[in-house]
């Protein structure tokens, strides 16, 4: 009984930690499938987190979510303007966008809440138990007694898969990522596709930031994404640019973090940092082809 509670708690924590990662990585999959690698993801999540905090304080949690999505999309549009429109180097542009977002969010946050920090009592998204499903022992609590963003993440997974692999738009998008020149010759408007895919990805990143604030942490702190945007990029690689794989990858990263809580609960003095390294090392192994075959879209980053 006791162990069942522990396992259920561990799984629930893993899913909760994985949710923002899953959302951001799902968006980044769309972006990367079109041949754009967006290292500004970290900044877009951060902007989303702050926008969610401010929106939720002013008009309630769901407005916060909407603000976050818009904030992510605005930053993504700036990224697309430079990296797709002006063909500036994607990696460096992405880094610059993240730097700018760190600076902007820090400044706006201090201005809005003062240096003492605030927004401690923002309205958050509570857990919503799905009747019936949440009664399933162990798994029910982990998957079906979570705040709304988790369900959004789970629902967007099959949706994105369907759009990418079963629609003409998805075909054009993947063609753009695999060979922009040929796609263009075939009549695909590649710049439009890449810009669109980047902005949609930015919206997901904003949503991820919102879920981090409103459904996981409950308040905003400067630089709170702490590299989660980069982790999401790693997850896209680990998940082989595939929505299903990404869900598993995100859960793996979530589990590594949740393990830390579990070990603390059990009072074990194990070096949890070593567990935190594992998913990154696994991603490197995946890149090297040791964990299944991995192939990036051929025109990624070009």
């Amino acid at each position: 009984m006791d162990s069942e509670v522990l396992v259920a708690g561990f799984l629930a924590a893993a899913v909760r930690v994985a949710t923002p990662l899953m959302l951001a990585a799902t968006g980044e999959t769309i972006t990367e499938r079109s041949g754009v690698i967006n290292l500004g993801l970290e900044g877009m999540m951060l902007a989303g987190a702050l926008a969610a905090t401010m929106g939720a304080t002013a008009w309630g949690p769901w407005s916060g979510v909407a603000c976050a999505i818009v904030a992510g999309m605005i930053l993504a549009a700036a990224f697309a303007l430079l990296a797709v429109g002006a063909r500036a180097d994607q990696i460096i542009t992405g880094t610059a966008i993240t730097l700018a977002a760190v600076g902007l969010t820090g400044t706006v946050y201090r201005q809005a809440y003062g240096s003492g920090g605030a927004g401690l009592s923002i309205p958050t998204l509570e857990s919503v138990a799905i009747p019936g499903l949440s009664e399933i022992p162990v798994l029910g609590m982990a998957l079906f007694d979570q705040p709304a963003p988790t369900y959004l993440a789970l629902l967007s997974m099959p949706l994105v898969w369907w759009v990418l692999f079963r629609t003409r738009l998805g075909l054009a998008l993947r063609a753009t990522g695999e060979g922009a020149a040929m796609a263009r010759a075939a009549g695909v408007r590649t710049k439009l596709i890449r810009t669109g895919a980047t902005i949609v990805g930015g919206g997901f990143a904003g949503l991820a930031g919102a879920s981090l604030v409103l459904a996981q942490v409950g308040s905003f702190t400067e630089g709170m994404t702490a590299g989660r945007g980069y982790v999401a990029i790693a997850i896209v690689v680990l998940g082989r640019w595939h929505p299903g794989g990404i869900a598993l990858g995100a859960l793996l990263f979530g589990a590594a973090t949740a393990l830390q809580f579990l070990l603390q609960t059990l009072g074990l003095d194990a070096p949890y940092q070593l567990f935190l390294m594992l998913p990154y090392l696994l991603t490197l192994l995946a890149l090297a082809g040791a964990v299944g075959r991995v192939r990036a879209p051929a025109d990624l980053g070009r």
């Binding site: 690698i37 290292l39 430079l82 002006a86 063909r87 500036a88 180097d89 990696i91 460096i92 542009t93 880094t95 610059a96 966008i97 993240t98 730097l99 700018a100 760190v102 600076g103 902007l104 820090g106 400044t107 706006v108 946050y109 201090r110 201005q111 240096s115 020149a181 400067e222 590299g227 980069y230 982790v231 990029i233 790693a234 690689v237 070096p271 940092q273 070593l274 935190l276 390294m277 990154y280 090392l281 991603t283 490197l284 890149l287 090297a288 082809g289 990036a296 980053g301 070009r302």
Partner: protein
């Protein structure tokens, strides 16, 4: 001269954006910028103990990144290599009590550079063996390094009281000498000397020629110069990692004297801006490193004296990076940088 004009335009635009942004956000921008200036150049103490101290790791990391860039590779894992170097430097520095100072310092710095080298060997090997792009692998290893530091300062390297997440201070003999009356350490000499050595290597040696050839066009270098472009690129990354590791060693030996969790306030990413603003030219990188050191030193003063968040200067950094990149698109701008970045964008493909 054009490069210089562009660089000045980039910094000017960055500061203008900061000024307007602060005004728009309701801060007193004039007070902010004057605090920034005074904090960076206002006094001899500010210049040496703040600006130059902050410039040292930025110059070193910027130099490292520019070596990789020149060879057509992008090392965004400098943060990780910096921490690898810092860990090694701390571990070695703790063992060196009683050794003669020059020996102790040399051993410490060598260990740091080696650790940075080892840290980047993994991405280089993955690239050569499996074709894994270095951008993702070096980025991932940043997080592994952060976890490793966290483990070290709460495990094997934790201070003897086992209370604080930090290491014991390193031996006195392993600390870099200071300029009397300031916190400026001899790492500056190292950074400037590093710039001069790299300048010589780039401009005057066959190795430097090969490196630039590969960076400008790997296929052309292979076909016309029979240069092993993979090997040259790998070597550039290795050197880049070693320099970033060295920066970690210098930070421990010259400033912190101990290992902390947040030893680097994002040097790896600021280093990218430093390298780009410096036009990937070693001397340019030294100058832009000092400029960014001033910016970060001034940012601290701006927060203290004008109540403006220090992170606001990241916006300046971002603008500088973007202008530097855009300057690579039209004619003119950074010579060399343009060609290198172009090649990264569309290797072997028609632009458009």
């Amino acid at each position: 001269m054009r490069a210089l004009a562009w660089a000045i335009a980039a910094v000017g635009l960055g500061l203008a954006v900061l000024f307007l942004g602060l005004e728009a956000a309701g801060f007193s921008a004039t007070a902010g910028l004057s605090a920034l200036w005074l904090g960076a150049f206002g006094s001899w103490d500010a210049f040496t103990s703040s600006t130059l101290v902050r410039a040292v790791p930025l110059i070193l990391i910027g130099l490292g990144i520019s070596v990789a860039f020149r060879g057509g590779a992008l090392n965004i894992g400098a943060e990780g290599q910096f921490y690898a170097g810092a860990i090694a430097a701390t571990w070695v520095g703790l063992q060196l009590a009683g050794q003669p100072r020059p020996v102790a310092i040399a051993v410490l710095l060598l260990a740091a550079a080696l650790a940075g080298l080892c840290w980047i060997v993994i991405p280089v090997w993955l690239k050569l063996r499996f074709g894994v792009i270095e951008v993702i692998s070096t980025l991932l290893l940043n997080f592994v390094a952060l976890s490793l530091v966290s483990f070290m300062v709460q495990g094997p390297l934790q201070e003897q009281g086992h209370i604080y997440p930090q290491s014991d201070p390193i031996a006195e003999s392993a600390r870099l000498p200071l300029l009397p009356g300031s916190r400026l350490h001899a790492g500056l000499i190292l950074a400037v000397a590093g710039g001069l050595v790299l300048w010589f290597l780039f401009a005057r040696t066959l190795w430097g020629f090969r490196l630039r050839a590969v960076g400008l066009g790997p296929r052309a270098a292979e076909v016309s110069g029979r240069i092993d472009s993979q090997g040259v690129g790998a070597m550039a990354l290795l050197i880049s990692g070693a320099i970033a590791g060295l920066a970690g060693g210098v930070a421990v030996s010259g400033v912190s004297y101990a290992l902390f969790q947040n030893l680097s306030p994002g040097y790896g990413f600021t280093g990218l801006a430093v390298a780009l603003l410096g036009g990937l030219h070693p001397i340019g990188v030294v100058i832009s490193g000092i400029l960014f050191g001033a910016l970060e030193a001034g940012a601290g003063a701006m927060q203290r004296d004008a109540g403006i968040p220090a992170v606001a200067v990241y916006v300046v950094e971002a603008v500088v990076i973007v202008v530097a990149l855009l300057a690579t698109v039209p004619r003119g701008g950074w010579i060399g940088l343009r060609a290198v970045v172009r090649k990264r964008i569309a290797p072997g493909k028609a632009p458009g």
